[in-house]
């Protein structure tokens, strides 16, 4: 299998290098392409044309398939994670941007921003099975690791909608700070972290009662509050620390996920957008939208160790072990 892959890759760099090393996949919104990065070597391996305006990206639980929302093609493409050949498309609805894959990998939930809908897709059948009416401009979307909740955040309605994954209906709504962007559950499914771009805050909600536990604000000397616009948020498995991309503040905030104190602010690249952990959680990868690069943060030392030019408008990021 690996041999065949090597032959099929025109350059074959993957074969020369460390085959076992993890790969980082970054969607490049303006290049209509996918960047493949070897984060250990700190190198861009190759860039593959993928479709018009790729943004949201997810990888299947078995790491065999990549799902990529190619917004201007109005579809989510299924890409073989080894050969990078397109093997199918999912009926995402118009202009898909963000979507979430459930833990089992058999459902994809798509935010349809223009229509105030969430579309539920049966991955195996490649069919839309339900549309759920949500608030205006749904964007951030995620499924809890225990598969109990599907959460959709509406940017203009300023709400997170708690949707029961069994019935695909809204059970509860929580008002959050203006223009919520990303939603992320802790590994134990007990907390939902919500970033709000216009308020410059992150809200931590209790998944059991959907109530607010804590609002986290950020202060960076030399940068006015307007520029602090949180987007991507991830929390480590042990819930020791959370990391928040601060958008045009060009920084990632390190938060103590127990005390909710902001411990450190790390300078990365311009308009940092989305974040992903390495499988061993030793590194954090960031996509820096307007400086056309990604940053690697070493989490033991909490320092930015490398910036890698990847292409124009890097958007989403996933990691394959």
């Amino acid at each position: 299998m690996i041999k065949k892959t090597c032959l099929s890759l025109a350059i074959g760099l993957l074969c020369l290098g460390n085959v076992a090393a993890e790969s980082v996949f970054v969607t490049l919104e303006h290049d209509n392409a996918l960047a493949i990065v070897d984060p250990i070597a700190g190198k861009l391996i190759k860039t593959i044309p993928i479709g018009q305006r790729p943004r949201g990206i997810a990888i299947s639980p078995d790491y065999k398939y990549l799902y990529i929302a190619t917004s201007d093609d109005n579809t989510i493409k299924i890409i073989d994670a080894v050969s990078f050949k397109e093997i199918g498309q999912l009926p995402s609805g118009k202009d898909p941007e963000t979507f979430a894959l459930n833990p089992a990998g058999n459902r994809i939930y798509v935010s349809n921003e223009d229509d105030s809908l969430v579309t539920v897709i049966d991955v195996a059948k490649k069919k839309a099975i339900k549309q759920i009416k949500v608030g205006v401009e749904p964007e951030g979307i995620t499924v809890s690791p225990d598969n109990r909740w599907l959460v959709s955040a509406s940017e203009t309605t300023n709400m997170v909608h708690w949707i029961d994954t069994k019935t695909n209906t809204i059970v509860e709504n929580t008002l959050v700070d203006p223009r919520p962007r990303a939603v992320s559950f802790t590994a134990d499914s007990q907390q939902l972290w919500v970033s709000s771009e216009m308020a410059g805050s992150v809200m931590v909600l209790d998944a059991n009662n959907q109530q607010l536990i804590k609002t986290i604000k950020f202060e960076i000397s030399g940068i006015t509050a307007d520029k602090i616009q949180p987007v991507g948020v991830v929390i480590d498995k042990e819930r020791h620390r959370a990391y928040v991309a601060l958008g045009p503040a060009n920084r990632v905030a390190v938060i103590n996920a127990q005390s909710f104190e902001v411990e450190k602010i790390l300078l990365v690249g311009q308009r940092v957008w989305n974040l992903a952990f390495s499988p061993d959680q030793k590194r954090l990868y960031t996509t820096n939208g307007t400086s056309n690069d990604m940053s690697i943060i070493d989490l033991d030392s909490q320092t930015v160790t490398k910036s890698i030019a990847v292409g124009t408008y890097p958007w989403g990021v996933v990691v394959k072990p």
Binding site: E113, M159, N173, T224, D226
Partner: protein, 398 residues
């Protein structure tokens, strides 16, 4: 006419409630209604230089309607219902009469799409004492200074904000020697005053200032007129103040020296523009076009922001009470998304919405002010227009 609108509205509200109660049983119980009036005058069709742009009859109204629709989607989940009733006064009618008769006792929140004089006449009416007026049309610096009123909030950038945005961009480009060309209308002179203020503020030099007094018939004489008119001492950029677009469009490509045109034509400063797509703007551009069948104009954007600001305040304060709403709107907690990359809020000293200003060419967005590098201790947005220390507005508390 008005009655049938009302009746239709009641019917729609009823059907809507019925729909919601089936969709969201948890929220059907306590509906809180917020009623908003939209007040405008019938539009007079002005003589235009160009027939390229269709005359838009309902600038402002469509934006308010979109804002109400967005608010009511949120309202489905919060149990709030926003109702908009429009009052379009005929050309020969009186806005004061309409306000006193149809609005004053029924609506506390009024979106006003009228000129400066009419706006302040309304604001000073005894019947408006307990109203909150959302001005979605005026650009007047005076209304944000000596002529300010404590029951008025301004949703569009005033001339000083626009001029500062242009000046920041010109400073960045090092176009520091200006040739200022001014039209003959009072509005043109006000725009020119704002430009002069900005020139001083940002250390720019107006090398020549001229008033355009020639004919407005482009087909006959402009070609030679402009070449002659623009034979002045060397300058970097022609800055034009022609708010009614009577001659400004014809300056570009016809000047004696090859120089860019900026101001009310050429590169313009605006709260909104059809070329703007960043920060999710494409979403609202699409939503608006689907609804109105045309591009969103500035007054639409202002009216959209007015209804959304009210929606935000009502949702956050869980109230329709004017004191609470107004307090929330003017508090530091208020942050509104305007699809321009920075949270919008109201300046507590003059009621002006703190907002970025787009700098746009006819078919491309050139820059968004505040331009990077113009710093401010509190918010870069306050590098545009009258900052607190410069303001001559003295609000009388109500």
């Amino acid at each position: 006419m008005m009655r049938s609108t009302n009746r239709l509205l009641i019917l729609i509200s009823f059907l809507y409630l019925l729909l919601i109660s089936t969709l969201h049983p948890a929220y059907a119980k306590a509906k809180l209604s917020i009623n908003i009036a939209y007040l405008s005058l019938e539009q007079k069709i002005l003589p235009q230089m160009s027939n390229l742009d269709a005359f838009v009859i309902d600038k402002g109204l469509k934006g308010a309607e979109l804002g109400i629709a967005d608010n009511n989607t949120t309202g489905e989940f919060t149990g709030q219902q926003f109702n908009l009733v429009k009052f379009i006064v005929p050309l020969e009618g009186s806005v004061v009469d309409t306000f006193n008769k149809d609005i004053a006792n029924k609506f506390q929140y009024v979106i006003v799409n009228l000129n400066a004089e009419q706006l302040n006449t309304l604001a000073d009416l005894p019947a408006a004492k307990n109203s909150l007026l959302f001005d979605v049309a005026t650009l007047d610096d005076a209304l944000r200074n000596e002529q300010c009123r404590s029951n008025v909030l301004h949703l569009l950038p005033n001339r000083a904000m626009r001029a500062d945005a242009l000046a920041q961009y010109m400073l960045k480009k090092r176009w520091s020697k200006w040739f200022l060309v001014i039209g003959t209308s009072p509005e043109d002179r006000l725009y020119a005053e704002a430009l002069k203020r900005s020139a001083k503020r940002f250390g720019m030099k107006i090398v020549t200032e001229k008033t355009w007094q020639h004919t407005y018939d482009a087909r006959k004489t402009t070609q030679s007129d402009i070449a002659v008119f623009t034979q002045v001492d060397d300058y970097d950029v022609l800055v034009v103040a022609d708010e009614h677009s009577e001659f400004g469009e014809y300056l570009d490509y016809r000047t004696w020296l090859a120089r860019p045109v900026i101001g009310t034509q050429g590169l313009i400063a605006s709260a909104w523009h059809k070329t703007h797509e960043q920060w999710g703007a494409i979403q609202i551009q699409n939503r608006f076009k689907d609804k109105a069948g045309r591009w969103m104009e500035e007054q639409d954007y202002g009216a959209y922001l007015a209804t959304r600001a009210l929606g935000e305040a009502a949702t956050r304060s869980l109230s329709s009470e004017i004191k609470l709403i107004k307090a929330y709107l003017l508090s530091p907690a208020f942050a509104l998304n305007g699809y321009t990359g920075a949270p919008l809020s109201f300046r507590s000293w003059d009621g002006q919405l703190r907002m970025p200003v787009l700098l746009a060419a006819p078919r491309s967005l050139v820059a968004v002010a505040p331009i990077e590098g113009f710093l401010h201790p509190k918010t870069e947005l306050d590098t545009l227009g009258y900052d607190q220390a410069e303001s001559h507005c003295q609000w009388t508390p109500q």
